[in-house]
Symmetry: C2
Subunit: 405 residues, 2 copies
């Protein structure tokens, strides 16, 4: 008998009626003979109401924030369990502290340390479905913790790992992971399978289907995840796992993020510790630096340092850098606004040479100038003029045959 | 150093702003040097939203009902604790399972069995206020329970008993217990003190300030309770305790309930077990029988049996009684609608003869006919025509000098 973990996100449990629909999906998996754990998010909107209450007080208290906000998942877990019992599927709810799901003490952003699966496993002997409140756990001193926004995906993955489940199905309002953003290019295709690494690169690029941290957890614990649609439960969605054949498909997705800004420090003194000094300063002020490129001019003992930050953090970053000018010698700061980062992603590019050349060739043929290039093992990103984003995404999508998957 | 328990009801914590006001009351008791536990209800309206969700599913599941509904008090406890910390009053929240408050397994209507006060007492060493989510506990098998609607009063009393607190202050939207309903008679007076028994008789009669079960708990554990106004916290309100001087005041309150109906069974066979049979039948169908009067005609071996039920249960009761007619011999069932029960209450009447006569005399002088009389040690109730309720309450109020307290 297989163990499956089914996770339903906020939009899939936004009303009592939707919870009843989700319960019917659970019922059909139950009747197929599986042992089930269902992980639920808060009803869509509920968490925001709770956060608004806390924000109104205007005082930082992370441990009590967790007490207030975790109640949203408690409500859904109880309601889902009632719906299942009504449908003749015996079930009971489990709060984080009841299982227990033991986390670190970092309230509001706790990390799951251990899931003790014994009690839930014992319930399987009685053919009982366990309904678990997502997003929450218990600290070593018995306080309620939450594992960060969107963390119910992570709860599901950790429980699947602890139960050695065959699969973790993430039910959401889309039917899987696409080759690119349907808003940017017409011929996007749903991917039937994608590797953990590809998914991580895509998620952080804007393919916001699954929280990146939960994909990393799935990779770490080798849990097969399927992203499926609550509204089309017969479809298996996109499978995310290690076990991906390359299909001769070097590139599996095109991602982008708009509103990037580029900063270049000209004639930075080229000695150890300078880059660390600069990026520490920015990190201390929570500026998210992304692409970093350095061109050395060895003969001059000088270098130009280029990096990108989100548009909204540009002004603040320039100010921080000017504050550093006395400490670190550089001649001037250049800035450039209204840029986009466009990336191609694919595990297959590890084994196929010429992918980068093909990408640059495609962009050049379309008169799209590349400002900055950065690469990882399975991703190539370029910084381009923001107005060309749509053109770039769409041309890269067809160049790499993603409309023919 | 005194230990005080402060309880805030739903209308006193209906918004974040009101929770902040309540926190200021806590702060002043804290600064006066007391060790404090604060018990909170759900924000007014929150519980109803949760119950509506459950009712929409339309399936009885008491243990999951408790999971859903108990979340309301969790939210208030977290918010209250944040407010206190913001005001510089160190505090932390406690859920029922964290303390723990151990209850019976009767979900939705569990009885508190034991409060283990050690953890909260330990917090007093650090000058920390404990904020307790009312209305909830934990069963012997680790499930969340609720102790019945309005049960936060009971949580407060049990915690006061476990901590051996000097006092339990119930903060609500009225400033205490009155001699009668201000809607019925103009010259009502606030009572400064009232005995447990008087309070119990008044509460069940409609003076809905405190849940009757919580007064019974206070009496059982000898906890002094003060009913106080959140909106006028300097006033000590009404003290409810054992320690009440009689003040030569035989009667301390006039209570009433409208919408009573009277049922009389004529010529019931007078043999053992007949009354039990009748009232068991009604109890099984959850009909609340109140006053019961029996007139025996010994020579005929027959009796007339009269009792009252709420108006809305009259029709159902008559049907149930007619079903019994074959089993129990009686000649017919009479019914009378639109009656009121009016009661005078007072511990002092135990020692003062003539109170009943004075009551009947007052009613007779005002041409108010008495249908049924029933008495307890500290209460005399009469059933009268509903249209005369106001007159009766008001005349009795002045006859027993309640407007001169």
């Amino acid at each position: 008998m297989s163990i499956l973990v089914l996770k339903f996100g906020g939009t899939s449990v936004a009303s009592v009626e939707l919870i009843e629909s989700a319960a019917k999906i659970v019922k059909s998996e139950y009747e197929a003979g599986n042992n089930l754990v269902v992980v639920v998010s808060a009803m869509s909107g509920a968490t925001n109401i709770l956060i608004d209450h806390v924000n109104k007080i205007n005082y930082d208290d992370d441990s009590e924030y967790d007490v207030v906000v975790s109640s949203g998942e408690q409500v859904t877990a109880g309601l889902m369990s009632i719906c299942l019992n009504k449908l003749g599927v015996p079930s009971r709810s489990w709060m984080g502290w009841q299982i227990p799901i033991i986390t670190s003490d970092s309230h509001r952003n706790a990390a799951i340390k251990r899931v003790i699966p014994n009690a839930i496993l014992k319930n399987f002997d009685d053919k009982k479905v366990g309904v678990v409140a997502g997003f929450q756990g218990i600290s070593s001193d018995g306080r309620i913790t939450t594992i960060g926004r969107g963390g119910s995906d992570n709860t599901a993955v950790y429980i699947a790992a602890a139960l050695n489940a065959e699969r973790c199905d993430i039910y959401t309002d889309v039917d899987g992971v696409y080759t690119s953003d349907p808003k940017m290019t017409k011929n996007v295709k749903r991917l039937d399978k994608v590797s953990y690494e590809e998914m991580i690169e895509m998620a952080s690029q804007g393919a916001k289907v699954l929280q990146t941290a939960s994909v990393e957890s799935a990779m770490k614990h080798d849990v097969d995840v399927n992203v499926r649609s609550t509204f089309n439960p017969k479809d298996m969605g996109t499978k995310i796992s290690n076990d991906i054949e390359s299909d001769n498909q070097a590139v599996t997705g095109v991602a982008y993020s708009k509103d990037e800004a580029k900063i270049t420090l000209i004639d930075v003194e080229d000695k150890p510790g300078v880059a660390a000094e600069i990026f520490n300063k920015l990190a201390e002020s929570s500026v998210n630096v992304d692409m970093i490129v350095q061109n050395n001019f060895i003969e001059r003992k000088m270098t130009n340092l280029t990096f990108t930050v989100p548009m909204i953090e540009l002004e603040r970053s320039i100010k921080l850098l000017n504050d550093l000018k006395q400490k670190i010698n550089f001649s001037k700061v250049l800035e450039e606004k209204n840029l986009s980062k466009v990336s191609i992603i694919g595990s297959g590019m590890r084994n196929q040479p010429g992918i980068a050349a093909k990408m640059f060739d495609c962009l050049s043929k379309n008169n799209i100038n590349i400002e900055v290039i950065s690469t990882s093992e399975i991703k190539i990103s370029v910084l381009i003029n923001r107005e060309k984003t749509e053109k770039a995404v769409s041309e890269l999508h067809s160049t790499f045959n993603l409309d023919k998957i």
